[in-house]
């Protein structure tokens, strides 16, 4: 199973803020059971999407030398459920980056309105973790920023460069 819970980045400001988009498609398997006839996106998968958005934001700032893993959900508040057919925007803002860990404030927007807020704490696992039991055998050395996520990373960098060029031309 592919573990990607966002569709792409729409904005990226290195070390500051990122925005991604997630279309909730009825074709996603989990909607069949969650729940039959009432397809609600599980909040845990929304948090995972926010964590992937925020994790790439933090990881990029650290030049992907650290493995940025979701350590703890510090706070989560959802105003409503999100159903198949809706488009969510995940906004991640860096609150703090330290060598050992970081915190990110994630917000979920739907049709321009903020509908959920989640504060996420990431632990940074240093290079010694690369060869540890936690790293799946045969995969990329950095098991967090795997090849699947790298396409997003390139997209994020492109958006950041575009934003910088635009700022420079004003």
């Amino acid at each position: 199973m592919r573990w990607i819970w966002l569709d792409g980045f729409t904005a990226f400001e290195s070390g500051v803020r990122a925005r991604s988009v997630k279309n909730l498609s009825l074709a996603e398997d989990h909607f069949a059971q969650h729940f039959p006839g009432f397809p609600v996106m599980p909040a845990s998968l929304i948090i995972e999407g926010l964590a992937q958005t925020g994790g790439i934001l933090v990881g990029e700032k650290l030049d992907f030398k650290e493995k940025v893993v979701l350590g703890k959900v510090l706070r989560a508040k959802f105003e409503r459920e999100f159903l198949a057919g809706e488009t969510l925007e995940y906004d991640a803002e860096v609150l703090m980056i330290r060598p050992e860990g970081s915190t990110v404030l994630g917000k979920v927007f739907c049709e321009g309105k903020c509908e959920a807020e989640v504060e996420i704490f990431f632990a940074h696992l240093g290079p010694s973790w690369s060869k540890s039991d936690a790293a799946p055998a045969g995969n990329d050395e950095n098991f967090v920023f795997s090849s699947e996520l790298k396409s997003f990373i390139n997209q994020a960098r492109r958006l950041d460069n575009q934003a910088k060029a635009k700022a420079g031309s004003v």
């Binding site: 703890k72 510090l74 703090m96 330290r98 060598p99 050992e100 860990g101 704490f121 632990a123």
Partner: protein
């Protein structure tokens, strides 16, 4: 300068947030792992919250040092910390109470040094030195 009671109150409030425990569960002698259910990831969260709450910088491993078996046989043998090892720990953690640990210096007991009182002592000392 904050009194020890004021520091204890702020430390308690920090632990309530970080560990999702009730304030009345927190006593000075409460151990973070045994009594309050802290897991390894919580220690880093607690450090960051204390830094914010008290406006100080806590260098890595200063408050919660990590001790691994096998690093130095002079300090630890067969899972038991040697008297020399205890002296070394006392130097690294002057804010901890070693009375119980000296009676039973097994490594499995090491985490019981991490008490609410230990954090309070550490913060008080840190603030007295101007946060350094």
């Amino acid at each position: 300068m904050a009194s020890q009671d004021e520091i204890f109150e702020k430390v308690s409030a920090t632990l309530v947030e970080a560990l999702n425990v009730d304030e009345d569960e927190i006593r000075p002698a409460s151990t973070l792992t045994g009594d309050l259910g802290a897991e390894s990831i919580d220690f880093l969260d607690i450090v960051f919250r204390l830094e914010r709450e008290f406006g100080i910088k806590i260098p890595r491993e200063e408050l919660f040092p990590e001790v691994a078996e096998g690093n130095n046989p002079e300090f630890m043998q067969d899972g038991v910390v040697t008297p020399k090892g205890i002296d070394e720990l006392k130097r690294a953690m002057p804010f901890a109470d070693f009375n119980d640990f000296e009676k039973d210096p097994r490594m499995t007991e090491f985490s019981n040094l991490f008490t609410v009182k230990m954090i309070t002592n550490y913060i008080q000392d840190k603030l007295a030195r101007g946060g350094r």
